[in-house]
């Protein structure tokens, strides 16, 4: 299927071609940095890609004439990304952010061919000399959500709308479950994967199915506000994802995991401009401000809000680790001993469910 971006890129290519043929492009490249963002959904999804685009706009505002920013929207994960990346790199972009997990191998591959271009891949784990990685510890917010949900649930069943079963999503489910079961030891988590990041209709379908199966809490790891809206319509509690979704659940959206990429993007662009860019691995959570949670819904009883706040402060200060032992997987194997915390390297590759999550994962 042909998409809008083909035209954008085509037009960009035409502009680049004229600049090669017609105008001299000597001085321009040196003082002006061209930075591009590759988004997995539309920038108007009001969720994940929207938040990345807010970061891009913040960069543009911060550096004004010194940078030129560009976004390519709705790029499918996989081979398509390679084409877009190559085109951007040949068009003189000096810094490229690939903002979804499924762009990982393509980013590494293309980066090899363009050693002078800096690449930044979000939510992945592969780095090279000119590829840095960055991510948000979304799972820290899940601990807070799990705590709030544990108090709020009556049925003890949580419905979790997932995108695809990758570590990024699984670590959120596990962190949520661990916190949830500290309050509701008999609690169950039902997970439905919609096999994609953005399809409001399907996300709503999944939320409906979960509510029909007895869930009175809806969690989501997808990009549209549809699950929150569905929960509001059906009168069950929900947690928003990526951006503040309170407007879609005025009485039932407890809080949201809000991504804040702007400070990171500004810092990285500044490094390129200063010539100090290095391949690093950044994983910021509540303490760094990259993840924030808006004020809890006023409809949540005050004592529950207070307990949620306590969990939030504890995670933020480091007093509580989302994966503090004992952590036991579904087969009963102890993965983290009592008194220990799970190391980052293990969290990053998490591929098993903890006890309380229904269904199996196939590796």
């Amino acid at each position: 299927m042909i998409k809008r971006r083909d035209f954008i890129i085509g037009a960009g290519g035409a502009v680049a071609a004229t600049s090669v043929l017609g105008m001299p492009r000597i001085a321009r490249a040196a003082d002006k940095l061209k930075a591009a963002w590759i988004l997995v959904g539309p920038s108007g999804d009001m969720g994940y890609s929207y938040q990345h685009d807010l970061g891009r706009l913040a960069v543009q505002k911060e550096f004004g004439d010194r940078v030129e920013t560009h976004k390519v929207e709705s790029v499918p994960e996989g081979a398509d990304c390679e084409r877009v990346l190559t085109q951007l790199a040949t068009q003189g972009y000096g810094l490229i952010f690939t903002t979804s997990f499924g762009y990982m191998d393509q980013t590494i591959k293309v980066a090899k061919n363009f050693p002078k271009v800096y690449f930044e891949h979000a939510t992945g784990y592969k780095r090279s000399k000119n590829v840095a990685t960055y991510n948000i510890r979304f799972y820290e917010g899940r601990t807070v959500q799990g705590t709030l949900a544990g108090h709020l649930t009556k049925s003890g069943i949580v419905g979790y709308v997932g995108s695809i079963p990758i570590p990024e999503v699984i670590m959120g489910i596990d962190a949520f479950t661990l916190a949830f079961r500290k309050i509701r030891p008999d609690g169950k988590i039902k997970v439905i994967y919609v096999n994609g990041w953005f399809d409001p209709g399907k996300e709503a379908d999944a939320a409906k199915a979960l509510i029909d199966q007895g869930a009175d809490i809806i969690c989501q790891h997808t990009d549209s506000p549809a699950p929150v809206q569905t929960a509001e319509a059906r009168g069950v509690w929900a947690f928003g994802q990526s951006s503040d979704m309170a407007k879609f659940g005025p009485t039932h959206c407890v809080t949201s995991n809000v991504d804040n990429w702007a400070p990171y993007y500004i810092q990285r662009v500044k490094m390129v401009l200063d010539g100090t860019w290095k391949s690093t691995d950044t994983w910021g959570g509540l303490a760094s401000g990259m993840l924030s949670m808006p004020t809890f819904n006023i409809h949540v009883p005050e004592n529950i809000r207070a307990d949620g706040m306590k969990a939030l402060e504890a995670v933020k200060s480091g007093a509580r680790h989302p994966f503090d032992g004992p952590v036991v997987d579904k087969k009963g194997v102890t993965k983290v001993a009592a008194g220990k915390n799970m190391p980052d390297s293990e969290i990053a590759g998490l591929n098993w469910y903890t006890q309380g999550v229904e269904g199996d994962l196939r590796g």
Partner: protein, 306 residues
């Protein structure tokens, strides 16, 4: 609510936008025009419907405006392909891209604004009957409209003189022209009708299904509608069946996941496509009949001779 009831009620909802768009496209294709711009017309209807409903507070006005938006986009397609004789496939694809881009532009101010959902029918006593109650007597107005429209299209195409003329134009435009039928005018009207139905289908997503606007929210449903027309071998009642079948498997696979069935979710996501194709291929496996049903002049450019 019983789980089977829940699946069936959700099935009807998820099939409705597909059914609306596909029924419109069926009429367009029966007249011999292949409009691949369904996705673009749907998203156009979705954004205009949302904008109007948001501004006026009236979902009815929203749906009306959405149908008109679909008509406007279809008119663009119709003028290009029927009067300027542009290639239908290329123009249809362009219409989809144009619709997606234009809707994103128009929709910018509406991102992040929620609308209330459509009211559902409730007849005391009747709607409370298990299974059939909520399924048949508990839906919103557009669901009933989509079924009624499909039945009406079936009747129109097979039982009326106008329907016969429309089909004859789709079978052999030169013969129809020789008989004195205004081929271009008939096709243009069929294209506009398809646009109106696609617009309604899109608006169903942004006004009833998930009452919000977000870019690209049709998420490929226009293409599914197009495929349904082919797999239903251009028969309205099979279209109805196919759309519900697709809806059923889309919803049932989610319930299966929620119930902890240990089948990989990637496979379950394929299920609606596989099952719908399989069933429709089996019920319409007679190649001769398919050839009879497919409009012979589908996608062919009409140049008036003499």
């Amino acid at each position: 609510m019983h789980e089977l009831t829940a699946i069936l009620v959700s099935m009807v909802l998820s099939a409705t936008p597909l059914l609306l768009a596909a029924a419109g496209e069926l009429v367009t294709e029966k007249s011999g025009v292949l409009n691949l711009g369904v996705e673009g017309m749907m998203i156009g209807g979705a954004v205009i419907g949302f904008a109007v409903a948001w501004t006026t507070g009236s979902p009815a006005l929203g749906f009306t405006a959405a149908a008109l938006a679909g008509v406007a986009l279809a008119a663009l397609f119709g003028v290009l392909t029927l009067f300027f004789l542009a290639n239908q496939v290329a123009t249809g694809l362009a219409l989809t891209i144009f619709g997606l881009g234009l809707s994103a532009l128009i929709g910018k101010p509406y991102i992040g604004k929620p609308l209330p959902s459509l009211p559902q029918l409730y007849i005391p006593g009747v709607t409370d009957i298990p299974v059939i109650g909520p399924l048949i007597f508990g839906q919103d107005a557009i669901v009933y409209l989509s079924v009624a429209a499909t039945v009406a299209i079936g009747w129109f195409l097979s039982r009326t003189r106008a329907g016969l003329i429309l089909r004859s134009v789709g079978e052999n435009h030169d013969a129809a022209h020789a008989l004195g039928y205004p081929v271009r005018r008939i096709r243009f009207l069929a294209v506009l009708f398809g646009g109106a139905m696609s617009g309604l289908g899109g608006a169903y997503l942004s006004l009833a299904y998930t009452p919000l606007w977000s870019e690209g929210m049709t998420a490929g449903r226009g293409w599914i509608a197009l495929a349904l027309v082919v797999f239903a071998t251009w028969k309205p009642w099979r279209l109805l069946f196919g759309a519900y079948l697709f809806g059923f498997f889309s919803i049932a696979q989610l319930h299966a996941q929620g119930a902890g069935v240990s089948i990989p979710p990637e496979f379950l996501s394929m299920l609606p496509y596989l099952a719908t194709i399989l069933v429709l291929v089996i019920i319409s496996r007679d190649a001769k009949r398919i050839r009879l049903n497919a409009p012979a002049a589908l996608g062919k450019v009409f140049r008036a001779t003499a």
